[in-house]
């Protein structure tokens, strides 16, 4: 360590109270920054997971164009084989991955009371129960098993005046253009919390759906789920390689299927940065203030140093060393505290009053989990370090104004 650095270090501890206060301010600011970025990133991940888990899945295999203009005949043939092939092939890179087949059609549902248009989806109940959180939100009756039964969104059931055990008539158009009509028993009613789904979604077992719509072994989507979010790019690559060439099939990720979620995150991220900017400014000004006071208080000391032969430039570097050491120490301390805080809540979850009731209703975990990533740990502290050092330049420059003859004469 150079002489200047050693002097700076000693100087810091010559007035421990002042140094510790500044250190505390920096450490506190950095802790706050690391924790809030961690919470933000963590909540985004949770938001994505919740959306993906509700109904969309991580990705879906569909015929190109089906997403934007769904048509019954735009379907995937030989679905059972393809599903088995995907499950085997993807299981190698993401054990536990679920491939859920779905077929869907717009139909007219009618009760004794009235008729309403709805999206009827044929599903594999077992696969859905593993991949989607929707079966868990059935609050009256039960989820699907097999045969001629249906589960309805809460608002849809209410509007039709139906309860579990009632019968509902389905009227639609089958794949061959014939009339698809049947009577289903309402097995259960779900309340997912997603208004669109609760108002217009109905599900029935896939086999019965395929019979009704004259589309044996055909589906409209193979939904991939129950794999880590980070594995998605690899999952998509693998899936593409496993798809048969004819008819052409597309792999769509959740971002394409639910663009709203991604947009919401991007907007929130932008507004989040404004808050961090303000936080960094507050930290900077408090540090600037402490540095400035420290320099002004020590005019006599500087005067003596200069009288002893210290040059102004050396003095300036000494003061900057002090600032750098103090800031680095504070940032390191803040990072350690912030990381500890994030790590603790990442394991134990952060919850607040009333959240449980709210979350349970929508089948979500009742806590927030912040997330520790290199970005979370480094981005905030790096900015604070840079801005603080920049801020230290001004008080340090005041050293140049010190005149040894004058200051040593002042009465202390």
């Amino acid at each position: 360590m150079s002489l200047l650095a050693r002097m700076a270090w000693r100087n810091l501890w010559r007035n421990p109270r002042r140094s510790l206060l500044t250190l505390g301010a920096i450490a506190f600011g950095v802790t706050l920054l690391v924790f809030s970025v961690g919470l933000q990133i963590g909540s985004y991940e949770q938001m994505i997971t919740n959306t993906v888990r509700l109904f969309t899945g991580l990705a879906q295999v569909q015929r190109p164009g089906y997403l934007d203009a769904p048509r019954l005949r735009l379907d995937i043939p030989a679905a059972r084989d393809l599903r088995a092939r995907l499950e085997a092939g993807l299981g190698e890179i993401a054990p536990g991955v679920v491939v859920a087949p779905r077929a869907q059609a717009f139909v007219l549902l009618s009760s004794e009371r009235r008729s309403l248009g709805a999206l009827l989806v044929g599903v594999d109940p077992q696969a859905e129960a593993r991949l989607s959180s929707l079966p868990g939100t059935v609050h009256r009756g039960r989820y699907l098993r097999t045969g001629e039964e249906v589960v309805l969104g809460a608002a849809l059931a209410r509007n039709l005046g139906l309860a579990p055990g009632d019968e509902v008539t389905v009227l639609g158009s089958a794949r061959d253009g014939s009339v698809a009509a049947t009577v289903l028993t309402v097995a259960g009613v779900f309340e997912s919390g997603a208004r669109e789904l609760d108002r217009s979604l109905a599900q029935m077992p896939l086999a019965a759906f395929q019979d009704l719509f004259a589309m044996p072994d055909r589906v409209h989507a193979l939904v991939l789920g129950e794999a880590p979010l980070g594995a998605l790019p690899e999952l998509v690559r693998r899936t593409r390689a496993l798809l048969p060439p004819d008819p052409p099939l597309a792999v769509l990720t959740w971002e394409r299927i639910e663009p709203g979620v991604k947009q919401a995150i991007e907007m929130d991220f932008a507004s989040g940065w404004l808050m961090y900017l303000i936080l960094v400014l507050v930290i900077t000004f408090s540090i600037l203030n402490t540095f400035l006071m420290a320099v002004l208080e020590r005019r006599r000391e500087f005067g003596v140093l200069l009288a002893l032969g210290f040059r102004h430039g050396r003095l300036l570097r000494l003061v900057l060393w002090e600032a750098a050491l103090l800031t680095a120490l504070g940032v390191l301390l803040g990072m350690a505290l912030g990381a500890a805080l994030v790590a603790y809540f990442a394991v134990h979850g952060l919850t607040f009053e009333g959240m449980e009731v709210y979350a349970e209703q929508f089948n979500l975990p009742p806590y927030l989990t912040p997330k520790l990533t290199p970005f979370v740990l480094l981005s905030g502290p790096a900015v604070v370090l840079a801005v603080t050092l920049l801020a230290a330049l001004y008080p340090a420059s005041r050293v140049r104004a010190v005149d040894p003859a004058e200051t040593t004469r002042e009465v202390g």
């Binding site: 005949r73 009618s110 158009s173 009339v179 049947t182 009577v183």
Partner: protein
């Protein structure tokens, strides 16, 4: 002074033309439906990759009562549609139920064809809910024909910006086009064959095309028809929809 005369003529012209155009449209619709009608029809629904044929039997009375039954193919035989005024019901023999079609579904396709439920239901809307204007006169196959623009009233429950018809002087509809609010052509109904049914000239083969979906069309071919014969009083009832008289 000649200017004033010209302006007066211009102002007077629509006032004279409008009732006439409306009268032509009304006469054409009445000609099309008769006081009562009975028909056997074939409907061909064409798609780029497949085609489907339906055999239908249809009855109408006045402008606001119709009953359509599917005779073939066997899978769909027995399906029936009843229209009384603005209300529409479907009967399906497999579930043995009558289903009322909600107003929100009236723009949906009828039996998977390019005709909407509204097309089947609302023949008198063109008379009640539109203003008509004569655009011009043309000559078609030795006949005079009027081209008429029909613009829906502000409050009419209609998705179209306007509709144009070409009506022959014997009140046969030759063409009917549907335009969106921006004026672009969206659908076109064309008479492809004109014959004589039960003594009246009639568009026996008509095709409905969707211009936004190339290769999508539905053709209706009237095989047999009788007009203005008395019909049973209970024909247009829900009871008859469910349990057809033998």
């Amino acid at each position: 002074m000649p200017w004033l005369a010209l302006i007066l003529v211009l102002l007077a012209f629509p006032a004279v033309a409008e009732p006439e155009a409306a009268a032509i449209v009304r006469a054409a619709i009445e000609h099309y439906r008769g006081k009562t009608s009975w028909m056997r029809l074939e409907m061909v629904i064409h798609r780029p990759d497949w085609e489907r044929r339906l055999r239908l039997e249809a009855w109408t009375q006045g402008l606001d009562r119709s009953l359509v039954r599917v005779l073939a193919p066997r899978k769909d035989a027995g399906n029936a549609t009843l229209l009384v005024g603005d209300a529409m019901w479907l009967y399906n023999p497999r579930v043995n139920r009558v289903i009322r079609i909600p107003a929100s579904m009236m723009n949906q396709s009828w039996m998977g064809s390019d005709f909407s439920n509204n097309d089947i239901a609302r023949s008198d809307d063109l008379i009640d809910q539109y203003d008509h204007r004569l655009l011009g006169e043309e000559r078609v196959d030795g006949h005079r024909a009027w081209r008429i623009r029909s613009i829906p009233h502000e409050d009419a429950p209609v998705v179209w910006g306007f509709e144009d018809s070409l009506i022959r002087d014997d009140y046969v509809f030759l063409e009917h086009t549907y335009h969106d609010q921006a004026g672009s052509l969206v659908r076109r109904l064309t008479a492809r064959e004109i014959g004589v049914l039960d003594g009246r000239p009639y568009a026996v083969r008509e095709r409905m095309e969707r211009l936004d979906k190339p290769g999508h069309w539905t053709e209706v071919h009237v095989l047999e028809a009788r007009f203005d014969r008395p019909l049973p009083a209970d024909l247009f009832t829900l009871a008859n929809l469910r349990n057809p008289r033998p």
